[in-house]
């Protein structure tokens, strides 16, 4: 094992998010010691108050950009990072909070906060890659912890991470699930959704919610046509796409087109 100081320095940063993706790293109970042995955890406030100054060999970034302050902060982090990897739907697509992009954010502020005048925010929630160069994007809401470890391992070995961009269906069938859409008539976004979760929801007889965003070659029109045949109405189709990846094309376009 490498001596302290020679291991790559890892930083974990938070922007507008729920912390769930960072927690996925702490949730790697069995592998956490191996991670701590392989990298020097230099900045990870969710795990420790201790901070080691940059530059950092690898920054993991969670969350989206929703304030002018954060827009400036991500630029500083990018400058202090040799490699920058975004983790989770907020960082890769703007997250659920990107629903503000399709409404007037001031309306939300007036409803949510007792003193709206205290709130300084941007009109939009956007992905990190819209602000700085990103070396790799790891999808998911939240990210899959095995994939997160895969990304770290690939970084350490200097290889490409194996995070296939095909549909959830491939994982679903590998797992031996019965297709919920074909066998039960349950609407499912699996055919247009990026793999990575291991097809959790269909394993429990639920349709895929699209947490990992669009797959590599999504045929939205074909799926929507079939969803309509299953009796799913237009507003429901808009809501199906209008969740954690609402700002990721073509989920954004479909959500808007169906009245989201």
């Amino acid at each position: 094992m490498a001596e302290t100081g020679t291991r790559p320095k890892l930083a974990v940063w938070k922007f507008a998010s729920c912390d769930g993706c960072q927690l996925s790293l702490l949730d790697c109970e069995d592998e956490l010691l191996a991670v701590a042995g392989a990298v020097e955890i230099a900045y990870f406030l969710e795990a420790t108050r201790a901070e080691v100054a940059g530059p950092y060999d690898l920054s993991l970034v969670e969350g989206s950009i929703t304030t002018a302050h954060d827009a400036a902060r991500i630029k500083a982090i990018r400058q202090a990072s040799k490699r920058l990897i975004t983790i989770g739907a907020c960082a890769t697509a703007g997250g659920i909070q990107a629903l503000r992009n399709f409404a007037d954010v001031r309306d939300f502020i007036s409803i949510v906060y007792a003193r709206p005048d205290y709130i300084e925010t941007l009109a939009t929630s956007t992905a990190i890659a819209e602000h700085v160069k990103v070396d790799f994007e790891l999808r998911g809401c939240p990210v899959n912890k095995h994939q997160l470890l895969e990304v770290l391992a690939a970084f350490l070995r200097g290889r490409q991470p194996a995070t296939p961009g095909h549909s959830v269906c491939v994982e679903c069938k590998q797992r031996g699930n019965v297709c919920v859409m074909v066998a039960h008539g349950t609407p499912c976004l699996g055919p247009v959704t990026h793999a990575g979760c291991g097809a959790i929801c269909p394993a429990y007889d639920r349709g895929c919610y699209g947490c990992f965003g669009p797959m590599e070659s999504p045929n939205m029109a074909a799926l929507n046509h079939w969803l309509a045949r299953l009796g799913v109405d237009q507003p429901t189709i808009a809501r199906l796409y209008g969740t954690f990846n609402v700002n990721a094309e073509p989920f954004r376009a479909e959500s808007q087109r169906h009245g989201g």
Partner: protein, 373 residues
């Protein structure tokens, strides 16, 4: 003395004896109801079989339905095939560990017990034969498949009914299992004098049969079995067009139909996953945080993914059109050149389990019909 080629009649209850006898030496897998479908899983006894259930199938549609009798094999084929067990979706290949003494490799664990399959349909038996051809013959025999296939005990079941997506008759692959079984069952008269005709196909099948309560089959039993299979043959929901399919497809690689089907195709890969003959795999690096360990795992792959045709500079088959064409022309045409037969057995899974119900027989028909002007 029970010998190969003989036929006997057993009562449904005797199947429990068959399952128990097999369980002494095998991991017994067969049809059972799970998640509103008939799937293949471990059987512990007669009660696990889908008694009184059937399936309704169409393009993108599968529903479990109650029968009005107590048939044990009164369904067609479900979402999985025996590929699930012989050519596993996720197959560990090896682990390696580095120490001061060098690098040591560990092979994956081998199955503790051989497999016994109960309920192998004619199309499925043919599919196993095709995967045998692909994975066992030729220069690169697959050791993992071979280890699971070698001792596999096959209890075939002749179909007494066909489903809406079946087309084995037009592929010449069913509905009767002709060979390659240890025992072959034909279920007779489930609403009346419920019994099963058992044909013995191997010595070990005969030994097993000798231990069950049985009587020799009469001419009437044999006639009833033939009638059951004839009924299934007459019920095919689909047919592959009676044309020279490889030639038709080879002449029509730029046919506009490929673009039309691509408008509907999700490129999700479901058809390849459920196909009992599709065999493609990819190899992934195991998680390797520890610097002194490595490993590889093989997983089912699909020609519908971009990774599948990724070479230096990008993926060769970018469009859904080129990916669907690749799959269909390999399955129905170039498979002949490569392996000496069609890659399709007419089970209809790719039709039923396509989330949007794309039907390969319909696609071939459209292309073939356009040639006739």
């Amino acid at each position: 003395m029970v010998t190969s080629g003989d036929a006997y009649v057993i009562l449904p209850a005797a199947l429990d004896g068959l399952i128990q006898a097999l369980r002494a030496d095998y991991r017994v897998l067969g049809p059972t109801v799970q998640a509103s479908a008939i799937v293949y899983d471990e059987l512990t006894g007669l009660a696990d079989l889908p008694r009184g259930w059937t399936d309704e199938q169409a393009g993108g549609h599968y529903r479990l339905r109650r029968r009005d009798d107590g048939a044990l094999f009164g369904y067609v084929v479900g979402p999985q095939s025996w590929k699930q067990f012989l050519h596993q979706p996720v197959q560990p290949l090896w682990r390696a560990r580095q120490s001061e003494d060098g690098v040591t490799f560990e092979p994956p664990p081998t199955p503790a017990r051989p497999l016994a399959f109960i309920g192998v349909r004619a199309c499925e038996r043919r599919a196993i034969a095709i995967q045998d051809r692909v994975l066992l013959e030729g220069s690169f025999a697959d050791a993992h498949y071979a280890a699971r296939r070698a001792e596999a005990f096959i209890v075939a079941v002749n179909c007494g009914q066909a489903g809406g997506t079946c087309f084995c008759v037009s592929m010449g692959t069913g509905p009767k299992v002709e060979d390659g079984f240890d025992l072959a069952l034909t279920e007779l008269d489930p609403a009346g004098e419920h019994r099963l005709l058992v044909e013995v196909g191997s010595e070990r099948g005969g030994r097993l049969m000798a231990g069950l309560p049985q009587r020799p089959a009469t001419a009437a039993d044999r006639d009833a079995a033939e009638a059951a299979v004839a009924r299934a043959a007459s019920q095919m929901g689909r047919a592959m067009p009676a044309v020279d399919v490889p030639a038709v497809l080879a002449r029509n690689l730029e046919h506009p139909r490929w673009a039309e089907v691509a408008e509907r195709c999700l490129t999700c890969g479901n058809c390849t996953m459920v196909c009992p003959t599709c065999f493609c795999t990819t190899v992934e690096e195991d998680l390797d945080l520890a610097p002194d360990q490595a490993g590889r795992t093989r997983k089912w792959a699909s020609c519908f993914t971009l990774d599948f045709s990724y070479i230096h500079g990008g993926s060769v088959r970018q469009s859904g059109r080129s990916r669907y064409r690749q799959w269909l022309t390999h399955k129905l045409a170039t498979w002949h050149d490569q392996f000496g037969s069609s890659g399709c057995v007419g089970c209809g899974r790719c039709i039923a389990w396509c989330p949007v119900g794309i039907d390969l027989t319909e696609e071939v028909q459209a292309i073939a019909a356009s040639e006739q002007g």
